[in-house]
Structures are given as structure tokens and as C-alpha cells.
Amino acid sequence: MKLLNLNFLKDIVRELFSNKGNLFFMVLALVISLTALNTIYSLGESAKRQVLEALANLQFGKDALLIIAGGGRIIGLTTTRTDTLKLEDVEEIKRLSFVKLASSWSRGILEVSYQGEAEKLRVDGVDLNYSLANNWYTSSGRFFNQQDMESLAKVCVVGADLPKKFKIKNPIGEKIKIRGEYFEIIGVLEPKTFFGHFRADERVLIPFTTAQRRVFNKDYIDAVKLLFYPDTDMKMATQTIRQILRKRHNLYGVQPDDFRLITPEMSIQRFTEASRTINIFLLAISLISLIISGVIIMNLMYANIEEKAPIIALRIALGATSKILIKHYLTMCLLIALLSGVIGWFLSIILMQAISLFTPLKPLFSWVTFLISLAFATITCVVFGLIPALKATQIEPSILLKSL
């Protein structure tokens, strides 16, 4: 028998479509798990890409370093005091030969309101280097200047989506209330969508000096972004800065750092680690659902074979060997896998489009995902279809003559 005989395939397709109800449920079971698998995988990939894009977008190139106040894990609750990072620390670091630029800021989640509508938003007190350090400029209006800093001006620059949020038509010149005090909007930032509970495009920036003395009333800072000259040895730079900070903060021996140094590699690594954990978890769920659909397919296949026992007996009587019968039913399983794989993929594309309407995630199309899901479908169908196929070979052809 040839490997792919068109007539043999035609016979299988006809048999497959002879019981449409059965076929529907077999495909449905698999389609649900494959759609989930595809969507989860693609959304994960999409999130990863967007975070990497966002990092690049934030001038977090390979020559950048972020110092965040408070020790502990890179992301998560701090395990030490957070009020030890001072402007004086930054001044000393700035004197290092490889440091090109430093931009300090302090931040808080504050109530921001406009015409009676209030929201808890992230408010950052930033210095004049902020735009340069983060590659983030105003699209309309202007950024802060020296005079704003010196006069502790009550002005603000807002994220691209903030005017929309408060339904402000012409934001420049409008006044919003931050913690009960009016601030004039002098500029709107370029859109820079990325993740986080408090989205960047809904952020409010105020002058660093105003933030420290009028809003937060504190003498420490929350973070510093450093840009280095090209070809700086990152390892050496990080090490030097760590030593300076430990010394200035009187940390010796086994005392933990009361700051965190975040390099681009670390942020990517952290993100990959986090997404790996989530991916493994989601993958496990998908695999369980695949196994469930496999069991459903196996049962429906069993029912199918029992129902078609006289036809299978006939095939045996007409000369079909066990090998041919197994090939027959495994090919049928492959067709189910192919059908489900294609439907599942299309559904996941539609689902991703829908998700992208409500979230910042962009839909991602990849042939790799398609092939992976097809491979999973095939494995499921073949593994769970093999038992019913073997059962088919056990059918006694003598049942055909039972009529007497």
C-alpha cells in the first residue's frame, strides 16, 4: 500500500464526516485547548516583546543603570529603609569619569483631580535631565526649565493619555489639582505605552524641587537613572557605584544593600524569569486541558469504532490487515488534529484581536506558534487515538454473518 493513497484518504474523510455530531465534539474539545494554548503563548510573547521595546524606548540601552532606593529583590517589596538615597550620593556618583548623565526623581501615588473627577495616579518629581535620560520628550507645550526648578513652580507635564482620561480638550494652560493644590499643565508627553499598574501615559510629572518641598516634603530621592559613556564596562561601573553607596550609607560586612542597582540585562532577565514561571504554569494548564480533550477524543473514537464495528468487520473481511486499520484510524486522528489546529489558530487570532482592544497587548502572529499547536494537537490525537485504533483491529469479522 502506498504511503499516501488518495482513495484511501477520501474514504477516511467520508467516514469522518459521516457522523458530524461526533466530529464536532472531537474538534471542539481540541479547539478549546488549542485556542487557549495559542493565545497564552502569543500573549506571553507579545508582552515580552513590548517590555523589551519599552525598555529600549526608555533609553534603557546597554549603557544605562537605574538605582532604586531600598534593598531587596529587583521587583517586589523592599526589605530595608527606603529613605537613605540622597542627592549628595548622586553628586558623588556624577563625578565618576564614566557617568555621562544622571537624572534623579521621587515618586508617589497621589490623588489627581480635574473638575471634580479624581483618580489615584503616579506623580513623579523629575529634574531637567529627565527627558534626555529617558528619551521621553513633550509632544506639545514645553518641559520644565531652570526657572521652574528654582521657583518651585506649580506646573506639570502630563502623559499622553491623561487629557483623555480627564476629558481635557486643550490641556496646555489648564489646571489640575494634585493633593488639593492647583498645577498648571505646561506640556504633554509623547505616547509611550508600556506595562505597569500605573501606566506611563497617565503619569504626571512635576518639577523635582516642587515635589520635594511642596508635595512629598522629603529630603531623599526614590530613584536615579544613570547614562554612561559608550563602551563603559558595566560590571566595573556597577561595582564602583555599589561600593560608593555602601560606604556613604555606612553599610559594612554582611549588612544588605539599602538600594537596588538595575541594569538592562537584569530587567530583561527578571522579566524572562517571571514570564518563564508564568509560562510554565500556563503551559501546565494547557497540557492538562489537552489531556482532557485527548480523553474526550478517545471516548468519542471508541464510540465511533463500536458504532462502525460492522463496517470495520467488512473491511477486515475484504482484506484490510491490522496495519491498514491502524493507519486508517490514526490518519483519521491526524485529520482531526489538523482541522482543530487550523480552527484553534484562527480563533486565537480573533481572541487576541479582541484582547488587544481592551489591553495594551498587541496581537502577535507567528507560524512557530501555529506549528507548535499543530504538533501538540497531533501528539494528543495520535496518543489518544491509538488505543481505539488498536481496538478496531480486535473486531471479529465473523460478526458479519451473525444474521443467520
Binding site: 502506498k2 463496517i311 467488512l314 473491511r315 482484506g319 469479522p397 458479519l400
Partner: protein, 226 residues
């Protein structure tokens, strides 16, 4: 000398139901030569179906020797048996057993699907010729549900003949047919036998059995004299 196609020697078939052994065939001896037309008659439970199953290689005897076309079939493996069923034996069943989703032509070509070489355009032409002879030329693309009982049985006959078998086994072939269709089918059988095809027919109807050249009666697992 005419060749012996089927030679059964002391064939015994026992079925086990729990602890009870039930002997269905109790030492059957049978010789069928090429060109014979044998009718096996018997009442329900006499063992004629079991015998037909064994002759058609659909079942194995508990003991005894079965030589088919000069080969001792007890020495063959399942693949070789499948080959014989495919190439040398044509089956006709009381319930027709056509594949419901396949057309007349596809049903006729089904045995060729299980040959090593599959089937060609030539085989399709051959099938059309057979269907023409059996008066089904206008039903080539019809599904079994669109055919009458007599037509379905004629499709089954065409299917049994497509591989040019040496032996045609018919199990109560007219059991589900009206008188006219029955006589049509028996006429075809007679013609085929005249052309040299060996036929073994199982029936409980003496009128049908009369069409055969020879009649054997089975009672309680053994052949008896008329």
C-alpha cells in the same frame, strides 16, 4: 482432473461460554471442486454460519485441517489470510453490508483499496463494466440509501467479483429480498457458475437451494444425508 478448492477434514469448532463448552461443528468433512455450486442448508443453530465463517477464513476451527486452494490455512499468519480473503474469496451477506457514505462505484472498488497496489483507472473501468452487466450503470454515483434491496445486493455482488475471486461465499443472499429480486440474484449466480466461478451458498430456503448443483444439509454440526 478438476482441482479441489476447499478441503475440510474433520473440522471441529467449540465455543466456550463460562465453564460450558458448546460444540457447534462436530467433525465436518467437505470437498468443493473448482466450478462447483454448493448450497448448504440447515435450520437456525445448526452450525452453517460457523462453517461459512471457517470456509471464508473469518474464523478458525478448534481442530481439523482446512486446505484452501492447495494451502493449509492453519499455517498462515493473519497477513497471509487477509491476502487470501482479499484476492481469492468474494463475500455476499444477507444484510449487504455496503458502506453507507460511499457511492456504488466506491463500494465496488473497496476491496481494491486493500491491495498492495491500490486501484487504477483501469480498475475503475472494470468496475463500471461489472455494474453495467449487473444492470446498475445508471446508479454508479448513488449512495446505498438511494438503492432498492435488490440493487444493493447486486452492488455487493459486483464488490465480491471485482478482484476476480476463486470462490464466492454467499450467506443467505436473498434473505432480505423480495421474490423477484431473489430470482434475479440467483440467475446471476447461475450465470457466474456457468462461467466457471465456484460458489458456496448458505440458505434455509429450499427453493433457493435448488439453484445449486449440489445441496448439503447440516444438522447439529454434522452433514446428514437428504
Amino acid at each position: 482432473m478438476v482441482k479441489k478448492l476447499v478441503l475440510l477434514q474433520n473440522i471441529v469448532k467449540t465455543y466456550q461460554t463460562g465453564n460450558i463448552e458448546h460444540q457447534v461443528l462436530k467433525g465436518i468433512n467437505l470437498e468443493v471442486k473448482e466450478g462447483d455450486f454448493l448450497a448448504i442448508m440447515g435450520v437456525s443453530g445448526s452450525g452453517k454460519t460457523t462453517l461459512l465463517n471457517i470456509i471464508g477464513l473469518l474464523d478458525k476451527p478448534t481442530s481439523g485441517t482446512y486446505i484452501f486452494d492447495g494451502q493449509d490455512v492453519s499455517k498462515l499468519n493473519s497477513k497471509e489470510i487477509a491476502f487470501i480473503r482479499n484476492k481469492k474469496i468474494g463475500f455476499i451477506f444477507q444484510a449487504f453490508h455496503l458502506i453507507p457514505w460511499a457511492t456504488t462505484l466506491e463500494n465496488v472498488l473497496l476491496p481494491l483499496l486493500y491491495r498492495k497496489e491500490g486501484f487504477t483507472k483501469e480498475d475503475e473501468k472494470e468496475a463500471v463494466k461489472l455494474l453495467e452487466r449487473l444492470g446498475l450503470i445508471d446508479k454508479i454515483h448513488a449512495k446505498p440509501s438511494e438503492l432498492s434491496g435488490g440493487q444493493q445486493q447486486r452492488v455487493a455482488i459486483a464488490r465480491a467479483l471485482i478482484n476476480k475471486p476463486k470462490l464466492l461465499l454467499a450467506d443467505e443472499p436473498t434473505g432480505n429480498l423480495d421474490t423477484q429480486s431473489s430470482s434475479e440474484v440467483m440467475k446471476i449466480f447461475k450465470e457466474l457458475n456457468q462461467e466457471g466461478l465456484t460458489i458456496i451458498l448458505v440458505t434455509h430456503d429450499p427453493e433457493i437451494a435448488k439453484n445449486a448443483k449440489e445441496i448439503k444439509i447440516i444438522v447439529d454440526g454434522v452433514f446428514v444425508e437428504k
